[in-house]
């Protein structure tokens, strides 16, 4: 897929590599038992094409590292039975669902392991992975129940001043899946907005796949190099790929759709009634084998109604 103009002009010259991933190739990225980090934050910018792909394939025993304020992307994976362990300081959707219903139910029923942490401990572990260190220390958690709830958070005396700190082991995602505004075919990813903690997930992960709203030319990337946030190992073109969550500069969250998912979760959590969730999956995941099928199931009218400043 070397599509640089000059490659066309000089057919004998080896081409700069494209890292574009076609949707059918997503299968190569994930397998049972992996540790997968999900980007974005709260109700924004989760890589939902990749998440639905994982659900559709019925992967099992995943360790899921949600974003620091983890969204219902985590909840969907838990509900679908893909998850063995969750590393995440919060799972929910704020006013739309103060806690993810599948997550809560699975945790209370002992069906998943929760690696209890706050954001400081969570980022410290990712930072250790990014620095290729076995651990890093943090102070947040000293004097609390965290070491009791999570024996991986180990109190120790610092070798310089003798203070008590917590040692956090490196948290290393096999794959990080992110959603961003744009990239060129070579993986130069740019956000609209802050990018939350996606740079750190990229730094910590073995490989990073980024969904983008649009592919742009390398020349456009070079026009604003200060905006380039990371270099992806794989880029998937996925307009509206964060739906039902928001994508800064493109669209708001789809509250009706989120409510549908939350209602399905609550039926399962309260009444162990799985039917609403099975209907949800049938319609939006198994019945929509590609991202375009999914978007058609949502409908053009709904999608174009999610613009940030529209009337």
């Amino acid at each position: 897929m070397g599509d640089h103009a000059s490659d066309v002009l000089s057919p004998g010259v080896p081409a700069r590599r494209s890292v574009l991933v076609a949707e059918p190739e997503l299968g190569d990225w994930f397998r049972d038992g992996m540790t997968i980090a999900l980007g974005g934050l709260a109700t924004a910018c989760h890589a939902m094409v990749a998440v639905r792909h994982i659900v559709r394939r019925g992967l099992r025993d995943l360790t899921v590292i949600g974003s620091a304020v983890g969204g219902l992307d985590v909840d969907l994976l838990v509900g679908a039975g893909c998850v063995r362990k969750v590393i995440c300081p919060y799972v929910g959707a704020e006013a739309l669902a103060s806690i993810g219903p599948f997550y809560r139910a699975a945790a209370e029923r002992g069906e998943i392991e929760v690696w209890e942490c706050d954001e400081g401990q969570y980022y410290t572990g990712l930072q250790a992975a990014a620095q290729m260190l076995p651990f890093l220390p943090c102070r947040g958690g000293v004097g609390t129940s965290f070491p009791e709830l999570n024996p991986d958070l180990k109190p120790f005396r610092d070798p310089v001043r003798g203070e008590t700190l917590l040692a956090v082991p490196a948290i290393t995602p096999d794959v990080a899946i992110l959603h961003a505004a744009q990239s060129d075919v070579h993986g130069n990813v740019q956000f609209v907005g802050t990018g939350y903690a996606d740079r750190l997930l990229w730094r910590a992960a073995e490989r990073t796949l980024v969904q983008v709203e649009r592919i742009v030319s390398n020349e456009e990337i070079r026009r604003a190099p200060e905006r380039t946030a990371l270099l992806a190992a794989g880029v998937l073109r996925a307009p509206y790929g964060a739906h039902p969550f928001s994508s800064p500069g493109f669209y708001l969250e789809d509250r009706a759709h989120i409510a549908e998912l939350v209602a399905a979760g609550r039926a399962w959590a309260r009444d162990r009634d799985r039917q609403p969730f099975e209907a949800y999956l049938a319609r939006y995941v198994h019945g929509a084998p590609t991202h375009l099928d999914y978007l058609e199931a949502i409908g053009l009218r709904r999608l174009l109604g999610l613009d940030e400043w529209g009337a």
Binding site: E119, G120, W309
Partner: protein, 262 residues
Amino acid sequence: MTGPPTVREIMATFLARDIEDGEEIFVGTNLPVIRAAALLAHLHHGPSMRVMLAHTRTNLYHAPVMEHFELLADWRAARWAEGYFNDNDIVMYQKSRRDSVFFVGALQVDPHGNTNLIGLGTDPRRLRLRGPGAIATTTNASHVRRFYIFLNEHSPRVFVPRCDWISTVGWGDGGPDARRKLGLPGGGPRYCITPLAVLDFEDDSKRLRLRSVHPGVAVDEVRRQTGFDLVMPDHVPTTALPGPDELAILRTRVDPQGLLRG
């Protein structure tokens, strides 16, 4: 817009008066009283406050009317940004928070202001009620200049002699050096604000003490709704009401939507 101040307006005003110009504050989204307190302090007496909104730093001192954004990541709230911040930088670089004040919510609070957002129940693998998680409260409460415990419910379910789990340290085992002994550099909790009352901490014991009751609330009601003995001063005043200028800012600029009056 001319009715008497509501309890939530009184709570917001109490908090706003305690926030100083130049301090850094995060404008909450899901908690209207905290959002209003931050913005009222800023617009009333804090022109140089550092106001964090949707992962941006901004200054809204001249904003005539503040829209309300319900979700943390609503990017429209970033339109006033002076700078962007990565979430991990905010949490990790605590030295940059030395002028920051912070709010902690809780499922449970103990007599020394230690709090629990983790859940209820004694078996960690099978909590009776799984809480939402600590978010950034543990690390922030360890480091920031001071914090406030903010509660939407004042009941014996919340105020308990002992938390099932502690996710943020208030005054630990008690006493003014409790935090120093743990090595926590932040200033700790100053007040606990509830729908019934304002609590502070007695200087020597660092136990929760009744500081004021909101208008129409009896001291006995607070006592009844608290699951342990509060330190009781001889005289318990009524929480101060907003002044006309504060009420005007609240009702015309900060909260024209009426989130605090609903």
